[in-house]
Amino acid sequence: MNHRRLRRLLIVGSALLACACSSLGVKPWQRDILAREDMQLDSEPLDNAIDDHLYFSKEASSGGRSFAGGGCGCN
């Protein structure tokens, strides 16, 4: 995938999100599906931690979902 296209996708997605906020959403009693475990943003914390550690030690980028910064000497 062309990285410029990806960036544009990201910007468009962010803009949509930003202007959609006040009109979007669900009533409190419609949160049944959102309460499912696989719809939680941190549904797999250990998998994410292990992956993040792997990518931090093999790539130059880290973070995004949470704070960047490694905490280990694997650079």
Partner: protein, 280 residues
């Protein structure tokens, strides 16, 4: 010792107690059950609830017990994000669950929804303002609350084991000398004879169910648990939910909420990490 209250068979189990004591304790429990019923039943003209409805939008001051029930109702409304709503009883005006095929017109249901919603109630203890046309119904809490009140009255007087059971909502203080209380949970709509048996040592069990009151039209079954947002029955609600908790009120609320979660009842109760039994 058994009696009838709140349209249910009620009983008090007192192992190894003599007749006179049993009668006295039984009367305490029965009187408390009748008192709570008389005070909060929506079917009685002399109840506090009927009196509140007659105020038609004016602000009134309620007594301490009603106040604490309203506080609890509001807490539950907030905790459940609006799913548990004591004002949803208004929808009974169009939904009559008599096993027939008379389901209401969608427009009629929609019109009633303007009178549903605890956020429309102004409750600043001890002052309550219920907008005209709205209703408060403690039916979802009443029986379980009565169990807990009767439990407290007995627990003050008696440290020996006892179990209070109001039509399936029950609570025990400790196990009888011969072993745990054997509680049978009826399995709805099945042709299996054996009920599920639970051994209760202490605490409460409450059961909410959908199997008795319903409508059937065009092959679709409409259970009597209504979604307070849409005004229509919850889809895919389990037939029966039993929850175990420390107090009957807590157990009752969780079982009612589980029914309201419909198909996600199991996921909801799993997340609350309570012991529960669901039948579909």
């Amino acid at each position: 010792m058994t009696f009838s209250a709140m349209a249910s068979p009620c009983e008090l189990l007192l192992p190894a107690t003599d007749q006179a004591d049993a009668w006295e304790l039984g009367m305490i429990v029965a009187r408390e059950a009748w008192r709570v019923e008389q005070k909060y039943s929506r079917y009685r003209d002399d109840s506090v609830v009927a009196w509140i409805h007659r105020t038609r939008g004016k602000e009134v001051e309620v007594d301490a017990e009603t106040g604490s029930l309203l506080n609890f109702a509001r807490q539950c409304y907030e905790l459940s994000d609006g799913m548990f709503d004591v004002t949803s009883g208004k929808l009974r005006q169009v939904w009559r669950f008599d096993g027939s095929n008379r389901i209401p017109e969608p427009l009629a249901v929609k019109r009633l929804l303007q009178y549903v919603g605890f956020d429309k109630v102004q409750w600043r203890p001890p002052h309550l303002m219920l907008p005209a046309g709205m209703e408060i119904d403690f039916g979802g809490l009443g029986k379980e609350y009565a169990v807990d009140r009767a439990f407290d009255l007995l627990a003050e007087r008696r440290s020996a084991p006892f179990l209070i059971n109001f039509g399936g909502d029950l609570r025990a203080n400790q196990p009888p000398p011969h072993g745990p209380w054997q509680v049978g949970i009826e399995r709805p709509d099945t042709d299996r004879d054996a009920a599920m048996v639970l051994e209760l040592e202490r605490g409460a069990l409450a059961t909410s169910g959908d199997s008795r009151r319903f409508l059937i039209k065009d092959g679709v079954r409409y259970g009597h648990i209504l979604d307070p947002y849409t005004g229509w029955p919850v889809v895919n609600a389990p037939r029966s939910v039993t929850v175990a908790a420390s107090s009957c009120t807590e157990a009752g609320l969780l079982s009612t909420l589980a029914l309201l979660h419909g198909i996600h009842a199991e996921a909801f109760l799993d997340m609350q990490r309570v012991r529960h039994w669901i039948f579909r």
